[in-house]
Amino acid sequence: MSEQINTIQALNWALDDAMAADTNVVLFGEELADGEGGGVMKVTAGLSTKYGARVRSTPISEMGFTGAAVGAAVAGLRPVIEIMLMNFVAVCMDQITNHAAKLRFMSGGQTHVPMVIRTMTGSGFQTAGQHSDFLEAWFCHTPGIKVVMPSNPADAYGLLRASIDDEDPVLFIEHFPSYWNPGEAPKRGVSIPLGKARRVQAGSDVTLIGYSRSMLDIPVVAKKLEAAGVSCEIIDLRTVSPLDMETILTSVKKTGRAVVVHEAVRSFGVGAEISARIHESLFRELKAPVERVASQDCPVPFAKQLETAFLYSHADIEAAVRRTLA
């Protein structure tokens, strides 16, 4: 079997290799330096020891240090900042959506903001309504920023390298409950291009589209359906914005059916956008309406049974597929 590592290790490698390759890469965020533990999840462990002042722990000032990253990027650095948990982006939205995402356009292309905002999230640890949300749709709705959401260690490495090299701001959302899951090790030094989805598995009856956490669930359900004679094609978006519509439409044209699965709440989400675009392009070729599988439209609840009821289940995915086949 090939070498296995987890996502924490993969991210650490990506940051380490990017810093070694380009002295403009700097990291900051809360507790990132080794003196403060090398990051709450140890993603940045060892890097401040190796790269000194280029890795900094910040005060608890998300607006302050996110804005500082915008300024540093305008001045030509490539800051990679960490927002400890995705919900905390709410306190620095202005810097992300009004500044990072817009300065290239508003300056007529005179400045640009090559920064990466790493953040992590996901339900499952009973962290309730302010520590678990998937908020990618907020940013997908903002022209000028890319949204990248890896589902495994190798993709985490390659996509983070590409995000750091990108000339525009990238929001890089990590699924932290699966941080410790082992996966195939990445080839160091190799980037995965942004804006390109991956066809994980070929199939002929239905296209299952996911990213981040849902890529842990889709293959399990697909395997079960496979045994029941349903052939599933699986697409991992990897970059959520901009969407790789070419890969999606090529697949759905073939299968005539599509199910989009994400952990974020259902309404006004990424699933709605993908569904709309598929209908706009392939209405006459579809054998069934596009299905969405997502979380319930409520804040993430605390108690285990409620948290479980909030998130979609494997049965929900299976039922959605069966509806498209009915």
């Binding site: 240090f65 300024g71 305008v74 500044h99 508003m106 005179q110």
Partner: protein, 326 residues
Amino acid sequence: MYVDPPDSATLLSIYRKMVQIKLNDDRIIAMMKAGKLQMPYYSARGQECIPAAISVLLTHADYLVTIYRGIHDMLAKGVPAKLIWAELAGRSTGACKGKGGPMHVTHPESGCMVTTGVVGAGMPIGCGLALAAQLRGESRVTMTNFGDGASNIGAFHESLNLASVWKLPVIFVCQNNRYAEHTSLAKGTSIERISDRARSYNIPGIHVDGNDPVAVYHAAKVAIGRARSGGGPTLIEAMTFRFNGHLIGDPGEYIPKAEYAAAVSADPYPKYREWLSSQGHASAAQLDAVEAEEAAALEAAVKFAFDSPLTDASEIKRDVFADAAA
């Protein structure tokens, strides 16, 4: 007033910038009234001697971050007037090709890096520009300008703290014109002197008469010297007034008549001119010549703008992302 003035050449440079700012402001308002420019315009008439006096101590290598009320700051920093005029007129030759407008003029060649319409948001960005200079061992400093009202938003406090902790080469310049939109300083601000807030962040705070270019010059000299030599940030509060309300069209009913009359009678512009000639720093003929030259330069800038083509609508597709550019 005017204690310990610098050499006459410097004093005259300050005067020239004040003249340029005033003439441009008068002309912008006239063009709006004539229907030739349509835009929200936040006039800085009354505040011109602050950037005029500071900017003679700066070069194009130094960074400026300013706000919607910022055309005085940009002109003083050296942004070519013709690029500002073309921007206001929505022309393809504008600094930002008409995609930013008066609230977002950007011109990195003269150090005007970011101009924001979001109150307070420039300060974290200024920290980041200063961080880039610090990490690269450059001697350039960052001036970040804002109003009195902006000292009540979180970004101000996060930025002063961050700049202090990291000893950043940044100067925070509060142009205190005593009103934030329609809210007086006393009603919205918990402290009499905003410069006293510096003490909470363990940085020097300087309170200065913003109508006295010599006093502003000395305050800025100290702060810039400190920043250039690695001594960290300074907060300067320059007391001033805006004669044309919050934005053009604001009747200013919330300003007591006596306060307004007193402020206008303290107009720094005619006073300074009189002082320059009475003290023999410049002859009346020299001052007349400066005014004539600046008037001619303004005419050329306006002509350049209105002779330029309007920005084509296709431009909205450009510079959202790097790769979108044709």
